[in-house]
């Protein structure tokens, strides 16, 4: 059965309430959607003049695709023992049905990054699927939760929400994958919220393999509690355009975040990342490392802002964005910005590079019998090692490398 409520273009308050009708939702959720719709309407979409939006033209964003209201269930694989320990991992619609109190407590509670506020609000109002992960206090989930969304349509607008909540002292590892077919210009507007409460440990990997004409307009918000640790990995492989806002709120004293990214793009792909690392509490640490391998005419922009808030003590942060240009027509524009408003900092730095492979390296590898493609593949794989080495979870590492192989080639035989 397919139901049509609206396209992105015709979305209005009535259409939003038709989503609630269709999903047979309780009043709290109806009014929550309504509130977010009001915010989406009150927050105009970016004009392109904003620093964060200068590098991505939104005019061609496909707005005519129908909102996907019968989204496929998220396929979930849950490590043994997790369910018994009270961990909830489920498709967001099912979670609303089965754990309404829990979802109500956490869903739609935080504001998105200012630059992405419109799209954040749009997804909060118009979501029709997604992933819900809740780990109760003190529970450590052994193994990897894998959640896979396989879209079978490439002509729709889909605005899912991933919500991961790790309560005090808990620990969890999540791989969140999305795949869609090549060809059609779909709008994928997934948003992600990760909350690590006091002393929780969260490892979250997002593997994006959208179809080659898809527009991926995403936003992620990470809230790191006191003494909590969060590692996020964004592996961007698919889509025609990816625009991602990444907002990290380090408001819990002693919290740590590691933000890793691996981008492999070719053809006419365009990837534009806006990161914000907000160091708002004492003794917080936030390190970002984004690596891109760019082929053909692919372009990658990175605009990252680190904010060290007034009065904070002993914070440590770094942003590093490195781009390997594998074609003379590929381009990268990494722009790190530091806004330091505190005196007592441990460290705050940045590094940005963009360049081709050193020809001496290529010759060295070729002189050992590797043909130019194999030599390049090996060097690119080596380039990504800086991030790969930080992915402790074997299941995630293997899936991400397999996905990346679509672009960078197989690195089989590289032990």
């Amino acid at each position: 059965m397919t139901t049509s409520v609206a396209t992105a273009q015709t979305l209005d308050a009535e259409a939003i309430s038709r989503i609630s009708d269709h999903l047979d939702e309780a009043d709290w959720l109806r009014s929550l959607r309504g509130e977010w719709w009001a915010r989406a309407s009150a927050t105009p979409p970016p004009t392109g003049d904003e620093e964060e939006w200068r590098r991505t033209d939104l005019a061609p964003l496909p707005r005519q695709g129908e909102l996907l209201v019968d989204a496929p269930e998220v396929a979930i694989s849950l490590p043994g023992g997790a369910a018994e320990a009270g961990v909830v991992v489920s498709d967001l619609r099912a979670a609303v049905r089965d754990h309404p109190d829990l979802v109500q407590r956490w869903l739609g509670r935080s504001q998105g990054q200012a630059s992405h506020a419109h799209f954040w609000a749009l997804a909060q109002a118009g979501w029709t699927g997604g992933l819900f992960v809740h780990v109760p206090r003190g529970v450590a989930v052994d193994g990897t939760i894998v959640a896979r969304t396989v879209l079978d349509r490439n002509d729709v607008t889909y605005l899912p929400i991933t919500l991961v909540v790790a309560e005090e002292g808990s620990s969890v590892t999540v791989l969140d994958e999305v795949v869609s077919p090549d060809g059609g210009a779909a709008w994928y507007g997934g948003i992600v919220e990760i909350r690590a409460e006091q002393a929780a440990h969260v490892r979250y990997a997002n593997l994006q393999q959208l179809g080659d004409a898809a527009w991926n307009i995403g936003a992620q918000r990470v809230v790191v509690g006191q003494d909590a640790t969060v590692t996020t990995l964004n592996a961007e492989v698919g889509s025609r355009v990816t625009k991602l806002g990444l907002d990290v709120d380090m408001s819990g004293k002693g919290g740590t975040s590691r933000l890793l990214g691996m981008l492999a793009a070719g053809d006419d792909q365009h990837i534009d990342i806006n990161a914000h690392q907000g160091l708002a509490a004492d003794h917080t640490t936030s390190d970002l490392l984004y690596l891109s391998a760019l082929y053909d005419r692919a372009r990658a922009a990175f605009y990252g802002v680190t904010t060290v808030e007034v009065g904070t003590k002993q914070t440590a942060s770094y942003q590093e964005c490195r781009n390997l240009l594998l074609s003379p027509k590929a381009g990268a524009e990494p722009i790190p910005v530091l806004e330091i408003m505190a005196n007592d900092i441990l460290r705050c730095g940045h590094g940005a590079t963009a360049g081709a492979i050193d020809p001496a390296q290529l010759f060295y590898a070729q002189s050992r019998g590797l043909d130019p493609d194999a030599a390049e593949r090996m060097i690119v794989r080596g380039f990504f090692e800086q991030v790969v080495a930080q992915i402790g979870d074997v299941a995630i590492r293997e899936r991400v490398l397999a996905a990346l192989a679509r672009r960078i080639g197989s690195t089989e035989g590289m032990a």
Partner: protein, 280 residues
Amino acid sequence: MTDELVISGLEVSIGANKILKGLDLTVRQGEIHALMGPNGSGKTSLAYTLMGHPDYIVDAGSVTWRGQDLLALPPDKRAKLGIFLAFQYPSAIPGVTVASFLRNIYNAIHHPKPDDETGETSIKYTGIPLAKFRKLMEEKMALLKMDPSFATRYVNEGFSGGEKKRLEMLQMAIVAPQMAVLDETDSGLDIDALKNVADGINATLSPEMGVLMITHYQRMLNYVKPQFVHVLLDGRVVMSGGEELSHQLEANGYDWVRQQVGLPAGTGDEASAPEPVSSH
């Protein structure tokens, strides 16, 4: 005639600089040749040209290996025919471990993926089994007295000069070439390392392997004995002899060679070749 590397009338330039001006040299499999010459005389240029470095342009002459025109081939094809170059300045490959690199180059030369294999079959290609390769690598590392921890380090990244040279020799031992050009493999090695590396070279040598050893020092030649010694000057091999020639060079310097062959005395630059180690 099919077991030899024949360089004849080789002229090579880089940019507007003519570096080799008609160089002749023949190295047969099973022979060890030493090539000596002042700094900047073109030894590395010759080595790079033999391996197919794209910056070195061959203006005239020929290089054949077992009767086949080497100059027509890209570097990887030359390597697959058994040619090996130990670099004077090896490159670092960040993020690629020594073990992974060695396995890749071993596979490239000894277990190449068949050209016609695409799709499914090519995806299944994995080359030498991991356990078998590990054994080979550990054996060769022991031969060169290398610490096993080098296997997990990234290729040449943060390696000392001497460690880089040892890794070059480890690569040579792993791929077991038929013709090896060693470009100052002895430079930068401490006294014990020189002995270890020389032992490693001697253990890698076989009657099927030819060696062209570029060196400034007599000391290496005490360990790896050459049957032939050549002097490169003014873009040509101007003098050749037996092992005794290296002793004469050490005693008399390159101006003596210039006098002998009727070349003007060298510039200060060339004369200040690295200090030779006194022979015993």
